[in-house]
Symmetry: C2
Subunit: 260 residues, 2 copies
């Protein structure tokens, strides 16, 4: 339970991380902590102690062979009004969930995605952060309930492709691995950061028309791994060699193959 006057609830004034644990280890823990720490700096929040968070995450995940641990950090309770309290006592919530059903077919065969009608707003001050203001994603995800559609692609107001609702997007275009730049909107995912750190990637604005020329498209998520796109609206794709190579990298990090 959280206090009803917590600023996380009142204003979405905080950040979160969704960390995939395998046993008592989280292969991308360092990247999660790097993003959380950077987000705290941008929002003016005191950063939590990563060692303490890891111990708390292990505690809640104990007994689950595989878990998704959500860490939520808010600016804590405060008087009414937007002004940050003089003394901030952040609220920290660490909760473990069993992962959704195994996604073997998704990793092997790819998923179908649709283009969402909602356009992401450009807000450079919040771009990249995994903050608690997620109404855009809620509205976008509410656009479909066909269970055969695995994700929705989000464009910005200028018609550039940004990401999926819960994952980042990569495409191979003219033989080059491309991912949208996230300086105006979108969440800079930890799986995306892992790929940027280990592969040559062209990080740039990406139009819908360019994406249609891709030889392969895949989504990346710290929770769901590397997921090929086999259909985007009416256009079909085959899972390609770059996605397969990154899936092998993913397993080498410590994520079990049957769930990537």
């Amino acid at each position: 339970m959280v206090g009803a006057t917590d600023r996380g609830l009142a204003y979405g004034d905080g950040l979160f991380e969704t960390v995939r644990f395998v046993g008592d280890g989280a292969p991308l823990w360092g990247r999660h902590m790097a993003r959380l720490t950077a987000g705290c700096a941008r929002l003016g929040l005191p950063a939590p102690d990563p060692a303490r968070l890891l111990s708390e995450a292990r505690e809640v995940a104990a007994g689950l062979p595989s878990a998704v641990v959500r860490i939520t950090l808010t600016r804590g309770e405060g008087p009414r009004g937007y002004a940050p309290p003089a003394v901030v006592q952040p609220t920290r919530i660490v909760a473990a969930f069993a992962p959704s059903a195994p996604s073997v077919p998704a990793a092997r065969e790819g998923i179908r995605v649709r283009t969402c009608a909602l356009r992401l707003a450009a807000q450079p001050r919040l771009a990249g952060l995994k903050h608690l203001n997620r109404l855009e994603q809620v509205l976008a995800r509410a656009e479909w309930d066909d269970p055969s559609i695995g994700e929705g692609l989000l464009l910005d107001a200028g018609g550039h492709v940004v990401s999926a609702t819960m994952a980042n997007l990569f495409a191979v275009i003219d033989g080059v691995l491309v991912t949208p730049r996230l300086d105006l909107c979108g969440v800079a995912g930890v799986a995306r950061a892992e790929i940027l750190a280990t592969r040559a990637v062209d990080e740039r604005p990406l139009t819908v028309a360019e994406l249609a020329t891709a030889s392969e498209i895949f989504l990346t998520s710290g929770v769901r791994g590397i997921v090929p796109v086999r259909a985007w609206d009416e256009q079909c794709f085959a899972p390609g060699p770059v996605a397969r190579e990154l899936q092998r990298h993913w397993h080498a990090l410590g994520f079990p193959p049957e769930e990537a």
Copy 2:
């Protein structure tokens, strides 16, 4: 207390109203309920029963001669992920606060305002709503802590004036009462709605350059009433006749003059 997996906390998936009560009455109650109901429709939330809310608000405000009642409505608890739960059981929080210190000098003499550096993002799907995604306002309000500055003006990315962080803005330009259109960003306040319903107002985009030519500027808020701007950055204004007339209207609605 609220459940730690409430979607209001997880995603800011909800709405709020901040209602000024005078005794057991709220002069703008109908406008608050109209906005809340319209917001529920836009977010796909079941709308609450206004009669029940009023009874709950009166209950928490009982004993306070004057109160600010915050009503928060969220999509309730749900499984992890943006998809709305199949069955929504909204969370409803109704809490009373004593109003801030009396604002007689603010109403009489006006307040100083500054221009915030943060620019509001354009998101037509959320524009006008008093939703729980308020990180922009939090960041904007954190830009100053000089207590002599009463509010901050927010511009959009195109350089148009939208509102203050907690109030709407009106200006008299060439003898015409003008307020920014809120189809791309901003919160459509209940005091603003009251003025639009009772006065001829030109609702349109408003540039900074135009605002500088105003003969008077004032802010409006259901909680704080009609507040003249006496200085905007380096430019000074005198509280003008339109603000004075609207203050009289405000008192006629039932808000006590000493607090308008």
